[in-house]
């Protein structure tokens, strides 16, 4: 609530500092504290992710045998599995053993296939990263263009059009958009391929779906940020010196509005990775999606653990980078350690 300034009042310097901060990050601290915080998040997440194993209902041995469709296991098979899992150890030792493995990239064996989890993920991860990365780039460019157009002609028809468009897109879940594109563009118009096999045209189409879906919220956020910046004193000064509105927008308002926008982009990394399986399945993209879905449907816990932890690492890492970049770019944030 601190960030709400009454309109019409010329913002003071302290107000300007609060405006540039997104509401969910009003407590900026020094870099070291940021890194500490990120580390703590990762440790907390690793505990939660590890806890999936002992928390999973049912005996893991039974679940492994069920996942591998072994109906009547021999006693030797059961004993070998128990030894492999180390379920006889006390919990804290199990955690440490697991953590040591994870730190060396060893997530154990897939319950379903019996293969090393990491090898299976490493084979599919590049395709997912390519898709998500391309989607992210398209989304940033698209929302930047739309927000600049809307802010340049605020209140007039280009702005109204952009707002109506973003509202429609915000109401269209990405998988519904993906299905419509698949049926009308790929099948209907014959663009691209129904079964992708990793083809470049599918990458473009699927990444555009991801990009267009994400851009809706970001456009609204960036537009609001640009308008807030345009109402500030420094924009008036530039105006008084004869700068054109377009120049004020790109040279004066955009740098100030960029930080909250970048923070939103960084925060969305987790959602992008979490949302990619459904897009991948629709476009038959050979990434992690299908693999993770199979794991979810038979409760293949080690695979899910690896996927969740990777997504958390990507998310925490991206947030940390953005936070550090914010501290570097905006010196005002450094002095506000006390405000949380």
């Amino acid at each position: 609530m601190r960030c709400i300034t009454s309109r019409g009042r010329r913002p003071l310097v302290s107000d300007a500092a609060t405006i540039t901060q997104p509401r969910w990050r009003s407590g900026a601290r020094a870099p070291a504290a940021k890194i500490m915080q990120a580390g703590l998040s990762v440790v907390g997440a690793s505990l939660l992710v590890w806890a999936m194993m002992p928390l999973a209902p049912g005996d893991p041995v039974n679940m492994i045998l069920a996942a591998r469709r072994i109906e009547e296991p021999t006693l030797e098979q059961i004993a070998a599995l128990r030894a492999q899992l180390g379920t006889d150890l006390p919990l804290w030792q199990q955690y440490l053993v697991w953590l040591r493995g994870v730190l060396t990239g060893d997530f154990g064996f897939s319950w379903r296939t019996g293969q090393p989890v990491m090898a299976e993920i490493a084979a599919r991860l590049p395709a997912t990263l390519r898709l998500v990365g391309t989607g992210l780039a398209i989304s940033v460019v698209w929302s930047l263009a739309l927000a600049l157009v809307a802010a340049r002609w605020v209140g007039r028809w280009p702005d109204r059009l952009v707002l109506a468009y973003t509202r429609m897109m915000a109401a269209l879940p990405s998988f519904v958009l993906a299905l419509l594109v698949m049926q009308f563009v790929v099948v209907g118009m014959g663009l691209g391929r129904v079964l992708s096999g990793g083809a470049g045209i599918t990458l473009v189409i699927a990444a555009m779906v991801i990009g267009i879906d994400r851009a809706a919220g970001w456009t609204q956020l960036l537009r609001a940020g640009l308008l807030a910046q345009m109402a500030q004193g420094h924009a008036d000064v530039a105006r008084a010196r004869g700068a054109s509105e377009g120049r004020i927008l790109t040279r004066h308002a955009l740098p100030g509005a960029a930080l909250p926008f970048l923070t939103a982009v960084g925060i969305s990394i987790g959602g992008l990775i979490g949302g990619s399986p459904v897009i991948e399945v629709i476009f038959t993209w050979p990434g992690l999606g299908e693999h993770v879905l199979m794991a979810l449907s038979v409760r293949d816990v080690p695979v899910i653990q690896a996927f969740v932890l990777l997504a958390v690492l990507a998310y925490v890492g991206a947030s940390l980078l953005i936070d550090l970049a914010a501290l570097w770019l905006d010196p005002r944030l450094r002095g506000q350690g006390a405000q949380t």
Binding site: M1, C3, I4, S6, R7, P22, S41, G44, A45, L48, V49, L55, A56, P57, L163, R167, M168, A170, A171, L172, P173, F175, V176, L179, L180, Q183, V187, R214, G217, Q220, L221, A224, G225, L227, P260, A264, I267, S268, I269, G270, G271, I273, G274, G275, V278, V292, L293, A295, L296, S297, R299, V301, I304, Q305, F307, V308, A311, V312, Y315, V316
Partner: protein, 293 residues
């Protein structure tokens, strides 16, 4: 996630202080649209199953993939089930499920947040650190983890989504409760000798509930989308039960011969998310009439 990205706050002309919630929503252009749309969908969910003549789960192999007609207004699916009946039946699970999850996180968030604010001290610290860890993880990923733990299924899905979402509500509830407790009229009530529980019930809980209701309405659209997306993937509602996302999954293989099977559920998901978003944004505007900039 909607909460983090939908920063769609723009300056607007101030709304007059609302006499009643419905009146204020009605005067708000987006609010009226959202209200009407949501009302239509709720009517479909509540009255549809009673009024529509066809059984949503009864196959009719003589009439598979029939085009929309006088008997089957929205056609039939691959096993000859009436699509309109299935859409009405599925509305319970798509809309009702989302409402259930929102009610759950509303309740949990309210209790945890207010308890933390009122109790303070160690309990407050412990609860808020748990909230911190929950909020440090992306919600969708958390839902994946819980669902992976419990296995696919509709109730498991609702539980997973609630577990992934409650922390935001607890955080807001605590902040609102602390804010409300420091306001002059609450201070005055305390000085007049009202008992703490009277102050809590009369002044603090209403403020918290109101704030959480706005947040829940804003989050409802994302929840509807999540339920249908997980069901589309086969991780939520299981066959033979109807759900909009699951119906989309069934329709994929018949699109070229039966496009109505894709278009109708997609349109309903779109309408439901749109209605929730419009209602949520209208509520937010009404509660902060000065307009956020």
């Amino acid at each position: 996630m909607i909460r983090l990205t939908a920063g769609g706050a723009w300056p607007r002309t101030g709304t007059a202080a609302p006499d009643g919630l419905l009146a204020a929503l009605w005067q708000h252009r987006q609010g009226r649209a959202g209200l009407l749309l949501m009302l239509a969908l709720v009517l479909l969910a509540v009255l549809g199953p009673a009024l529509l003549p066809h059984d949503p789960n009864l196959p009719n192999y003589a009439k598979t993939l029939a085009a929309p007609s006088a008997e089957h207004w929205l056609g039939t699916d691959a096993t000859g089930r009436d699509q309109l009946a299935r859409l009405a039946d599925g509305a319970h699970r798509s809309l009702g499920g989302a409402a259930l999850v929102m009610a759950l996180v509303f309740g949990v968030g309210l209790v945890v947040g207010v308890v933390a604010a009122v109790a303070g001290g160690l309990l407050d610290i412990v609860l808020m650190r748990i909230v911190d860890v929950m909020m440090a993880l992306p919600g969708l990923i958390f839902a994946f983890a819980v669902l992976g733990l419990l296995g696919p299924g509709y109730l498991n899905l609702l539980f997973a989504l609630a577990v992934a979402d409650w922390a935001y509500y607890a955080r807001l509830a605590r902040a609102t409760a602390l804010d409300a407790a420091a306001r002059p009229h609450v201070e005055a009530a305390r000085m007049m000798g009202r008992a703490p529980w009277q102050v809590l019930i009369a002044h603090i809980l209403p403020a918290v509930a109101w704030q959480l209701a706005v947040l829940a309405t804003l989050g409802m659209g994302g929840m509807i989308a999540a339920i249908s997306a997980f069901s589309f993937l086969g991780l939520g509602v299981q066959v033979p039960h109807a759900e909009w996302g699951a119906m989309l999954a069934d329709s994929r293989f018949y699109f070229t011969i039966a496009p109505w099977l894709l278009i109708a559920p997609a349109a309903l998901i779109f309408a439901a998310v749109l209605a929730s978003n419009q209602l949520g944004e209208a509520l937010r505007d009404i509660t902060t009439p000065e307009g956020r900039s």
